[in-house]
């Protein structure tokens, strides 16, 4: 997560709040990658994710006067972006569909390199199943899995991002993982070995 150089960031935020467009542009450049990944994780489609990220940056700019510039920007921005994404998904009304895996620039990629084409294909198929299973989760469960596993945030950071206590982070993670495991095992069960066997074999 982009918490680098807090003094520089707070200076950029102060200048952006005072109407300096170059400072705002610098903030966009610092956070665009993480922002787009967050939106992609929620909505799946690259075009939609790009539009929502744009809108979130513009809303952040127009509400900058309410923001305490001594605090990190990204957690505050994250809440604007996630709310936009949730509103978008609610309006779209297609909870559970997962276009992301079909996109070249989205979805989950096997982290390892130097594997054979067959292994790579198997890993992609497993990745697709994981992604499809994730998409069947409730928005809050999906979000906490994304934050913990795919953004590597600590419990303290997740608590700060979501404005919830550490205990709630842990409980929500438990239920999210249990739901994901169930969704995943029902998919693996139809098409192959159980999750434990699949992990063991690979």
């Amino acid at each position: 997560m982009p918490s680098r150089e807090p003094e520089l960031e707070s200076s950029l935020l102060r200048r952006a709040r005072d109407g300096d467009r170059e400072a705002f542009a610098a903030l966009v450049l610092r956070h665009r990658r993480e922002a787009l990944q967050v939106a992609l994780g929620f909505v799946g489609d690259l075009e939609d994710a790009r539009d929502l990220t744009q809108e979130a940056f513009l809303r952040a700019l127009s509400h900058m006067h309410r923001f305490d510039v001594e605090r990190p920007f990204f957690p505050w921005f994250y809440r604007i972006l996630r709310n936009l994404c949730f509103n978008f998904l609610a309006k779209r009304g297609r909870h559970g569909e997962c276009p992301l895996v079909l996109e070249r620039d989205g979805g989950i990629d096997p982290a390892g390199a130097g594997v054979s084409p067959l292994q790579s294909l198997e890993a992609s198929e497993r990745g697709e199943r994981i992604w499809q299973a994730l998409c069947t989760l409730s928005p809050e469960h999906r979000e906490i899995i994304l934050l913990r596993h795919f953004r590597d945030l600590s419990y303290q950071e997740i608590a700060g991002f979501l404005h919830i206590p550490r205990g709630t982070v842990m409980s929500r993670l438990f239920y999210a993982r249990a739901a994901l495991r169930e969704a995943l095992e029902s998919r693996l069960g139809k098409e192959g070995p159980t999750l434990a066997e699949a992990t063991e074999a690979s």
Partner: protein, 144 residues
């Protein structure tokens, strides 16, 4: 230890976030509860599976285009806000002026009244539609 607390500590163990005092508490719970040990193994398997994947990085061209369009739109935002607000106020003032002017023919005043009524109806229908959609919205319990 109650089940919810045990589950919280299982998560902390899996994620390397267990504090020293919590470790002893969890060890005691694991020693006395075989179902908790099985749960831990199952969740570890899931964790290993998820660790093999990462979210794809957006391409550099996509990031460039995103930054360019956000920066280009910063000026437009205020423009649209002022133009939209101004147009709305102008329209409302015009309708009120037409309705209140007894010198104008009845057809103008009737049309202005009909327009206002029609727009209000459209607004009410849209609000109702959104409310009905919300009843079936899986995101309605998400804290915004």
């Amino acid at each position: 230890m109650n089940l919810d607390r045990a589950r919280q500590l299982l998560m902390a163990k899996l994620d390397g976030e267990l504090e020293a005092s919590e470790a002893a508490e969890l060890e005691a719970a694991l020693a006395s509860d075989p179902s908790l040990r099985r749960e831990l193994l199952r969740l570890e398997a899931l964790g290993h599976e998820l660790d093999r994947y990462r979210l794809k990085d957006p391409a550099d061209e996509v990031l460039e285009a995103l930054a360019r369009s956000v920066i280009a739109r910063t000026g437009l935002h205020l423009g649209w806000f002022l133009a939209g607000g101004g147009a709305l106020l102008l329209f409302a003032a015009a309708v009120v002026a037409v309705l209140r002017d007894p010198a104008l023919p009845l057809v103008f005043r009737g049309s202005a009244g009909g327009l206002l009524l029609g727009l209000s109806l459209l607004f009410a229908v849209k609000v109702r539609e959104r409310w009905l959609e919300r009843q079936h919205d899986p995101y309605r319990y998400v804290t915004r």
